[in-house]
């Protein structure tokens, strides 16, 4: 899987952190405008002090200039000195207050940084104009970096080469446009590859060109997801092998037909040769048929192999009607033995869908066997398979049986694993069916028929075929 951009929203807490750190500089602790604004303006303190000094000088000048102390001058000088003293004190007080505020702010930043570090959340920012990139200590740790500052390129150099361009693009885009973005990308590591998730917050209105965000190491999460997908895949494969077990007889028949033709043709030829009844036209025909039947047998084995093989999900454009046809050929003999009449009513046209042919065949096999099992009273029954086009636009497949129908208490849990009404069932068939349908972005549902039996429906999105 390539690095992918997730549509999912960035978590609110990460967002809040990002906005706080948007205003932090690399050291994390020297202050940018937010905290200056939150405290008192330095100019006020300075002007207070300057005024106080001027007042003092003026008062002193008045005192020394006079030859004697007049009551008026005395009082003016005392007033001026007093004012200067009050101003000096206020200035000192204000400066102290400011220091405290700065200290508090510094502490809260430290707390946030610490919390982010504990959460293994790396924080970073980028100023587009200066191409200056900085990161918190957790960021450096995650990115395996020494320098806390650098250019965007230096950071990207630590990502997987194939993911770098996309990373550049997203960051630059964020410098222009507001909004949150998420990007999962790979990071080359010793003995493999790691996965990182970048949350990227775009520039705010006041600070254009300022991008900030967080990064998390999601390698373990990725591995768990891959493991779960693997397990699901194995399970799908195993149930398919199980299905083939049920089909065993029918598949053997498929293979034995061409083998019978080959053997009989070859032995006929043998006899003709032994008895010197050589008719070249006949011999050519026999040999041609042998070759043809051999090819046919090989095709059956190929088909069987593809069903048995735990292959990767392989999506391609296919016609749902083709899948129905091929699957019916596969179950044909088995259904005869079970005295189940299978009929098919479908549009003549194509129903193009995107999907894995093997998985869709497995889905249909599941549904047909399910229908046949619902009529296993020995009396046999009928299974009707229909395909058509429904709103969406979707290709619609319906498998209708004349069995016992679905009991009300099972109906809701029908597609859950380990729900089975069969005496020998494990109860995975329908849950696997649902998993297959979901992986094809489709829907599956079931309902009881007005008369007898039940119908299972599958809808898969139709695709536009290129003419």
């Amino acid at each position: 899987m390539r690095g992918l951009e997730k549509g999912s929203p960035v978590s609110p807490s990460a967002k809040a952190l990002n906005s706080v750190f948007a205003h932090l500089s690399p050291e994390g602790l020297t202050f940018s405008p937010l905290f200056a604004r939150a405290g008192l303006p330095r100019s006020l303190i300075v002007s207070l002090l300057v005024t106080a000094v001027l007042l003092c000088l003026f008062a002193l000048g008045e005192i020394f200039k006079s030859e004697g102390l007049s009551a008026y001058r005395d009082s003016v000088a005392i007033l001026l000195t007093g004012s200067a003293a009050v101003m000096t004190l206020s200035a000192a007080q204000l400066a102290r207050l400011n220091r405290e505020r700065e200290k508090l702010a510094r502490q809260s930043v430290q707390h946030i940084t610490e919390a982010a570090r504990n959460a293994r959340l790396g924080l970073w920012g980028w100023t587009a104009a200066k191409d200056r990139f900085w990161g918190s200590s957790a960021f450096l740790e995650i990115m395996n970096l020494q320098e806390s500052e650098g250019r965007l390129e230096d950071i990207a150099a630590h990502l997987h080469p194939e993911d770098r361009n996309k990373f550049f693009g997203l960051i630059r885009e964020a410098a222009q446009e507001r909004g949150d973005r998420q990007y999962e990308c790979r990071q080359p590591r010793e003995g493999g590859v790691g996965w990182l998730r970048f949350n990227i917050s775009g520039a705010s209105e006041t600070e254009e060109g300022q991008v900030s965000g967080s990064v998390m190491d999601i390698t373990a999460q990725h591995e768990a997801q891959a493991e779960a997908a693997n397990l699901r895949h194995s399970l799908t494969h195993l149930t398919r092998v199980g299905l083939l077990g049920q089909l065993g007889g029918a598949l053997a028949h498929e293979l034995k037909q061409p083998l019978t033709a080959i053997l009989s043709n070859a032995q006929a030829l043998q006899r003709l040769v032994e008895h010197d009844k050589l008719d070249m036209t006949e011999i050519r025909a026999v040999i041609r048929d042998i070759v043809q039947d051999d090819t046919r047998a090989a095709a059956v084995i190929q088909h069987l192999r593809s069903l048995l093989k735990p292959g990767e999900f392989h999506s391609q454009v296919l016609d749902l009607n083709d899948i129905v046809r091929e699957t019916l050929e596969l179950v044909h003999n088995e259904m005869i033995t079970r005295r189940v009449a299978v009929s098919c009513a479908s549009d003549d046209g194509r129903l193009p869908v995107m999907g894995d042919p093997i998985q869709l065949q497995q889905l249909l096999l599941n549904l047909i066997f399910n229908a046949a099992d619902a009529m296993s009273g020995g009396k046999g029954g009928m299974v009707l398979i229909t395909t058509d086009q429904i709103e969406g636009p979707c290709a619609h497949l319906a498998v209708t049986d004349t069995g016992e129908g679905i009991e009300a208490d099972v109906m809701d849990r029908l597609f859950e694993p380990f729900i089975s009404t069969k005496t020998q069932g494990v109860g995975l068939g329908l849950s696997i069916s649902r998993a297959i349908v979901l992986s094809h972005k489709g829907r599956i549902w079931a309902q009881n028929n007005p008369g007898r039996g039940a119908t299972f429906h599958v809808a898969l999105p139709l695709i536009q075929e290129k003419p």
């Binding site: 007889g249 019978t260 033709a261 006929a268 043998q270 033995t337």
Partner: protein, 208 residues
């Protein structure tokens, strides 16, 4: 007697390539073969009077071999059947054998097995046809007897003497003797023992 027609092998399989190959094999062994892709075609073209046997695939599309067999067995002249099967389903084979199939061969079938089975089936068919013909002939002879003669024949085969027969039927002994002579003549036998054997055959055939 009409000269017996050459026996035919009727092959029924819905797989064209298997059908052709089987026909070639049987032809190469000198058999006269007719092939049918569908059981229904075979049934509609079927003439029970033509000697021979049928080689039928069990797992056919429109009508299974077993159903075809049931239809064939309904007639007065059952046709020996060899089944070919692609899947080794015990239930089906038991069903087939119970319904009177002569042989049940697994595909792919070797020439030896198939030809031996066909020989055997033709042999059975020949015997069955001979028996049916003989019984028919005997029945024809029996039908030529008058009612009185049939009564007398029934007495003879029970080992009764002319005197006893005459007494039972309320006729004179001399008349009984004449009837006995006619019966032996019409049934074309010289001894009472031979007449008894014919009576047994007719009785068996009548039961069938």
């Amino acid at each position: 007697m009409i000269p017996a027609e050459a026996p035919q092998i009727f092959v029924v399989d819905d797989d064209p390539s298997v059908l052709t190959a089987l026909k070639r094999l049987l032809n190469s062994a000198g058999f006269s073969t007719r092939t049918f892709l569908s059981p229904l075609d075979f049934l509609s073209a079927h003439d029970p009077d033509v000697p021979g046997c049928a080689v039928i695939d069990v797992g056919m599309d429109k009508m299974s071999g077993i159903v075809l067999q049931e239809r064939l067995m309904l007639g007065a002249q059952p046709r020996p059947i060899i089944f070919l099967t692609g899947c080794d389903d015990v239930r089906v084979s038991v069903q087939a054998m119970k319904a009177g199939a002569l042989d049940y061969l697994s595909k792919p079938v070797s020439d030896q097995a198939l030809l031996a089975a066909v020989e055997h089936a033709l042999d059975e068919d020949r015997k069955a046809r001979a028996t049916r013909q003989e019984v028919e002939e005997l029945r024809r002879r029996h039908d030529s007897l008058t009612l009185r003669e049939r009564e007398v024949m029934a007495q003879i085969v029970r080992g009764r003497l002319n005197k006893q027969i005459a007494f039972d039927l309320g006729i004179v002994e001399k008349t009984a003797k004449v009837h006995r002579g006619r019966v032996m003549e019409k049934m074309q036998v010289r001894s009472v023992a031979a007449l008894v054997r014919i009576a047994e055959k007719l009785e068996q055939a009548g039961e069938k």
